[in-house]
Structure formats: structure tokens, C-alpha cells
Point group: C2
Chain length 196, copies 2
Amino acid sequence: MSTKEKILDAALTLFAENGYDGTSVEQIANIVGIKAPSLYKHYKGKEDILNALIDSAEARYEEMFGSENNIGKVPQSWEEFIKVTMERISFTMRDPIIRKIRMLLVQEQFRNERISEVTTRHQLDGIQRMFAKIIKGMMDEGIVKNDDPELLAVELIAPAVLQIARSDRQPRYEEECMEYIEKHLRHFCKVYMKED
Amino acid sequence: MSTKEKILDAALTLFAENGYDGTSVEQIANIVGIKAPSLYKHYKGKEDILNALIDSAEARYEEMFGSENNIGKVPQSWEEFIKVTMERISFTMRDPIIRKIRMLLVQEQFRNERISEVTTRHQLDGIQRMFAKIIKGMMDEGIVKNDDPELLAVELIAPAVLQIARSDRQPRYEEECMEYIEKHLRHFCKVYMKED
DNA sequence: TTGACAGGCTAACAACCATTAGCTATACTG
DNA sequence: CAGTATAGCTAATGGTTGTTAGCCTGTCAA
């Protein structure tokens, strides 16, 4: 990993933990193993690092939700749907980098308009679009009752997003959050799926 | 309004807008119309102000969701339910103080455990408990199909909470958020209410 | 070999920030 | 009236922070 990447990595960890204003350039440099002024050989300043982080968050978002390929096969039963969805959510919730990006965005969402937009995409639009496609696929195959896929996608993800946010700020309830999400998923299937 | 209250008021506005670390004691004093050192006649320090704000947020929470009296009459039809709920959400979304408390909590939720807890109560438990009661009331009167009221409450509020969060960071979409919430409410009624 | 560049370092600075000390005037209280 | 608490002020301080200037060293191309 290049120094430039190491800086981004350290900054993400610290920004997620203590916020942008709560983090000093010196702290970042310490983790990287260099002195603070050396950092300016790689980035123009502190804000430049933040912008690079948002860039990488956008890239990751594009990679996860942008293409059509990331949906995988359409689940053929509600059991399969629950299993696949739980895996997806569990990954999103626990992956350290995604988690840090989430925590960074949620804390800095009011800093400027760009971060506001990225936050909305990251936590609303992206996931919604992705699940709308899956639900649409299951409707076409007659597994899910016909309805507005975009709307159902929000009904599906909203409770999960709230639980993930909760587990970010209170990690000791992670297990409980996952259980709640599974309960919600089961309920969702009971309401919207055709078979019983 | 006493100076002590004015300080809290100014601090809430600034913390909501720029975060705790992004706000200086001098800025707060400027709004109040005093010099920074005078502020220490009223509070022991900057953190003391934050704690007082969290105190008042907890008090407000208790006042809104704590007692049994704040539910009002149980709605007798889905039209009434939508009207009453939209009013409640619209108020929560637009009231300047509630809005600032929300923005403060969301930014500082990782600062310490107490704020984490208050944030969860404020944005999850409180609303859930309140709507669970309303839904329970409507079930007892045979308006809503029998189900777990706690679960339905989350299905009801989760999409609304996400939209409110969105309108906090992108106020120019406030109208759009309200429209979405109404659409969601209608869908909710269609799914869970008995009459058509 | 020479020259340029990348990437580290130290020293330093100017700005800002939270907080304290100490003075003063006003307003209650006995 | 005397005394005391309240609440403002100015001045100052010690610490931190982001950033710049300038130096040194190793690498690599010409």
C-alpha cells in the first residue's frame, strides 16, 4: 500500500471515529508513520484528504450499485430471498470499510452539498434501486405479488437501514439488530409474497 | 429569555449547523451578545453546554413520548389516520427546535455513550412506542388487521424517518419527502387496514 | 557523473481556541 | 446603609492546529 493510500486509510478510520473536526493532521500522520508536514507532499491539505475520501466513497457506491451485474440470480423462494438478503445486509453492516464510510458520511453530511448528496445516494437511492430490481425480478417470476417495486424496495430496506445505523452507534446490540432485521424480512415475505 | 437559556439556544443552532467541534465558544457568545469569558459565569465549559443540551433533548423526548396522554383519540378510519399522522410527521420534520436537536444528535452520536443512547431513543424507540400504541388502539377497535403492533409501528415509521433525515440534509427536497411519506402511508393503510 | 525529482525531515509561524484571573458595576439582602 | 452575590468586561495564557519554508537523502534517467 502506497503512502498516499495509507493516508486515506488512516484518515477514514479517524474521521469515522472522531469526526473531521475532531481529527488532527498529526494524528493521521502518526498512524501512517510519518510526520505531519510530510503529508503535504501527497495532499494539498486536510480538506483535500476528505475530498479524496468522498471520491472513493462514490467510486465504491458506483461499483456496488451502479452496474446491473451485482444483483445476482433472482431468488426463487422466500426462504432463498431471506437468506440472500440477510447475507447482503450482514456484509454491509459488518464490513469495516463500508462501516467507516457510513459513519463518516453520517457525521459530515451537513458539511457541504456534495457530502449531502453522496450520503443520500449511499443510504437511500443506491440500496433502493438495487432492491427494486430484485423485487421486480421476483414479480416477473410470479413470486412476489404485483405492486410498485420502488415502493416495496423502500418498505423492505428502511427498517434495515435504521437498524444498521443503530448498530453503528451501539455495536454491542449488533446481534439484536440482525435478529430484528430477520424478523422484519419474514414479515415482509408474509405480506408481499404469493406462496405461504 | 435568560442569558443561560439564550446560550443554550445559540449553542443548539450552531452545533446543529457546524457540529460541536466546528463551533467555538466565541461564536456562541457572539450570538448571545456577550463576550466569551462571560459565558463561564453560566456554564463550567463548552462540554457542559453540550450536556445541558442533551438534558433538554431528553426532557423533550420524555414530554413527547413518555406519557400516555400524547396519543390523542384513536383514528376511526384510514383517512383520519393518514391526516393525523401526516400532521404529526410534518410538525416533527419542520419544527425548528426538534430539527436542530435531530441534527445535533446525528452528528454527535459517536461522541459518547450517553448521546448514542439518546439518539436511539429519539429516532427509534420513542416514535416506535408511540405509534405502537396508536396501532394497538386501532386493532382493538377492529380498524387494523390483527398483528404485532410493535412490528407494524416500525414498518410504519422507518420510511418516514429516512425521509425526514433526508430533508434535514437537503431541505430543498422537503416537499418531495412529504409527498413520499404520504404515498407510503397510503400504501401502509392499503396493506394493513381492514376496510378498503 | 550529473541533475532532477520524490518524499521524508526539522523548525517555525500565525491563527485560533478554551479557559482563568482579576476588575467593576449593578442589584438584591440584611 | 453595608455587604454580598451576580454577571458582565479586559487581558492574558497555554495549548493545539493547519500549513509553509527549507534542508537532506535516495533513486533513476540522460
